[in-house]
Symmetry: C2
């Protein structure tokens, strides 16, 4: 295998920069050969990264991840720093690798923190990565270290396997592959790995403001989110914003027997479900007056890009056993609209644990997905005005007994006003360069998504850093992102290494 | 103290049966003196009973309770048996104590199993009883064994302290008090202590049918539920029925990222809250067509008894910090109607644990409270017909992928068709005898409740055993029954001992 690599490396070096397509083919072959020969050590390295708990509510866990990442970057020749917004906040990891003679500097973004991982549906510990067959995710764990080879459809199951440690591993392994092939990056590389994206990036602006001079560059490549559900590569030029809302509705000060007080003492569970069912309908339409007033319409170019996306709905409906879809649109169009997702409701208990009681409170958790030109603050105003119009006394704080007694209906609304949406020009030169590079690396046309349905703080980067942003997602679409049993298809990791190797060596604009 | 007891005992024996009020006064004084002198050993015995976990989903736990109770009954001279409906079902404990010369046999009922106790709000282990000050239930635990005396307002906190081991302890200690006073019960005593009442008494009918000859008698005294919220003693002549319903609504087969699939993949949480909010309104009114058709109206005597109940609403609203009540009626009237209580909703998670995901399913748990002449089966038919009319495919079983894909809206409805309601004649002779005895024991007028808001299987007893039934509740109304931090006020236990001592010695009809 080593002889082959040397031969490919030699071939690549004689082809030169004047024949990018041919050079890209050669590069892809070199990287592919490297990856094929090093799958197990690459996966071993990835598994070590995934084994580090990374829910950003625990800053010590995040620090452990940051130290680990800095060591990995050090090994590849980076100079690194941990960037803080203040004491006891999760750091971002910054790394810089200059390439002699490079004219462009590319900042690569990913986040190394993950969603909460307490879902009881996890089949294995979210921080003890295991491999299972993609066609049989309910099947047994695979002893991949002992396997003769790693199948491309196998998946590694762990929190953040897809969201969003995969691009970090792809970058690290791409650098190893380039080094093995004797290839040098043609751009200066900066990495900015965020440590609290899944908490709504509360300190991101402050970190960016404090380190603006460090983070200058010509292009910001943001790797997060999934590939197109068809499996094809896509790039995105925007992302929806996000705003979180925790609602608490109050019942009696102490729990009451439902038989002795039901029909008399207000049941907060009933009040809450009635409140929630007034916020949106079954088709995804948000019922809050004025909610859609600030929505910027899609341009015709954006509409055309959406229309060019291949059909995934038929396959998805079958895979997910859906008897209907909300709103009747295609997925890509549905997620170009604002959304209200009811992500959790907790009151009393169900099944064997249900007690015949009226609870003291009932809670719900909502994530709003925003589009340009909505703002979190404006959404908050509209939602709270609507609740007031429905007879609710809205408070940001825990109401005391006097407040509860003074108002027929009290709801506590706790907001995380995370960040607004972003949608950039798909036709800008650096954007086109990224699309062309990935097309060369993968040998296939790249789908163009005007805006990712998921939320990444692109608006914050654009506002603070003022450089073009392109999104390059690597994960399989069925990765269980944000849920139990999050996973990454191994072939997506290998592909990601090739894509990153391409971006590091053949971006041309 | 002993001299006093002997004196009282002698006094009582010369008064004779011809002067019941005076005799009752003397008895009460004797029992009160005994209780005052033996509070700590009585509480020690009660605490030992409460320390036994008793959620009837664990049959071994129930067996341990049954053995313990049989030993306690043995000590008081009972012959005992465990009565089974079949293998691996929780037994009922039967005990019998003949009183020479007695003409009447009274069957005393309580249940020794408890509600599930997994609520996170428990301040201490539900099966490690602790004592705290009733005026400061959030205060520290009291080292009652070391205290100079037990304050009447102290409370013992444990699952089943009030519901429903208190009457069992009251009976045991009443027998001890009578023995110490040299008094003999004037009725034959049978006890029937059920072991799965909080699971909806699924095997009760079979046990009663199998042991009908054992359970004959002239009066069935059922001790469960709380005293009137005013603190006054009440007896009840009926109880609402109960029917449990677990609803599960389905989303995608695997959890999905809300950003990438929201607005397209149906969110089961949204569908469920909309379903639930269509079942009843904020005022307790059930919106299921025909739900009230079978309701038997209250008689004018029953309405008069309700009207005679003292005002508790003012105090309750203040205590519970209620800004409103449902329906605008008095408590007693509200709980004389059928009710739909939403006892739990579980979907996704909230707060720090909330993930931006669309869940695969969402669950709710409901308890229906029924009144005569509703039946669980009829309620089931009406609810399911209503759900179908709203576009739901209703199934009793876990739907597979094919079923989920074939129907736009699938709901699983799992019913526990527990038992119907019961309401007896308040003017029957044995009922009046019980009211008179308690009035003598407590020296106060007894409130008469046509029907308890909570559910006890009175209908089952009436149907299977064919004897008059009267309900004699002992617990404080604010006992957190069915919820976390269930407790019994100590004075209610001492009162209960006096009430039981009275019922055992001066029932006259």
């Amino acid at each position: 295998m080593k002889a082959l690599l040397v031969a490919i490396s030699a071939l690549a070096s004689v082809i030169g920069a004047g024949a990018p397509a041919l050079a890209a083919d050669a590069l892809r072959d070199q990287v592919r050969a490297y990856t094929a020969a090093h799958q197990k050590p690459i996966l071993e390295e990835f598994v070590a990264l995934l084994a580090l708990p990374n829910v950003a509510t625990s800053v010590p866990d995040i620090e452990t991840n940051a130290s680990h990442l800095r060591v990995e970057l050090d090994k590849r020749g980076f100079i690194t720093r941990s960037l803080y917004a203040g004491p006891e906040t999760p750091p971002a990891v910054y790394g810089e690798l200059q390439s002699p003679g490079a004219k462009r500097t590319v900042v690569f973004y990913a986040h190394y923190d993950g969603q909460p991982a307490a879902q009881p549906e996890w089949r294995s510990d979210p921080f003890k990565p295991v491999v299972r067959d993609g066609a049989r995710v309910d099947g047994p764990e695979i002893d991949w270290r002992a396997a003769p080879r790693l199948e491309p459809e196998w998946r590694v199951f762990a929190r953040s396997a897809s969201d969003d440690k995969a691009p970090i591993q792809a970058m690290l392994s791409a650098l190893d592959a380039l080094k093995a092939a004797g290839r040098k990056p043609t751009v200066n590389i900066k990495v900015f790995y965020e440590g609290e994206e899944e908490q709504g990036s509360p300190n991101l602006s402050r970190i960016l403001q404090a380190h603006k001079s460090l983070l200058t560059g010509d292009l910001f490549v943001l790797s997060d989110g999934p590939r197109h559900p068809s499996g094809r590569m896509q790039v995105f030029f925007g992302a929806r914003g996000v705003t979180g809302l925790e609602l608490t509705v109050y019942g009696p000060l102490r729990p009451l027997h439902s038989g002795h007080y039901g029909n008399w003492a207000p049941n907060p569970a009933v009040s809450l479900v009635r409140l929630l069912s007034g916020l949106r309908d079954d088709e995804g339409r948000i019922l809050i007056p004025g909610f859609y007033d600030d929505v910027r319409p899609l341009t015709s170019a954006e509409q055309a890009a959406l229309a060019a996306l291949p059909d995934v709905e038929t396959q998805l409906r079958r895979e997910l056993a859906l008897g209907r879809t909300e709103g009747g649109e295609r997925v890509a169009n549905a997620i170009a609209r604002p959304a209200l997702n009811l992500r959790g409701v907790r009151m009393g208990d169900v099944g064997d644990k249900a007690a015949n009681a009226i609870s003291t409170e009932a809670r719900a958790s909502i994530d709003f997905r925003l589009v340009p030109d909505q703002t979190p603050q404006r959404v908050r105003e509209r939602v709270e005005a609507f609740l007031r119009s429905q007879g609710w006394f809205v408070t940001a704080d825990e109401p005391d007994a006097a407040v509860r007694a003074a108002h027929p209906r009290v709801v506590r609304a706790e907001w995380s006003l995370d960040y607004p949406a972003y949608r950039a020009d798909m036709e800008a030169a650096p954007a086109k360069a990224v699309v062309a590079s990935i097309a060369r690396s993968t040998g296939a046309e790249v789908l163009r998504l005007p805006m990712l349905g998921g939320s990444v703080p692109m608006d914050t980067f654009a506002r603070e850093l003022g450089m073009p942003i392109v999104g390059v997602p690597l994960a399989n679409a069925d990765n269980n992102q944000h849920a139990a049993n999050e996973n990454l298809r191994l072939q997506n990791l290998w592909d990601g290494i090739e894509i990153y190797a391409g971006l590091l060596t053949d971006l041309q604009w």
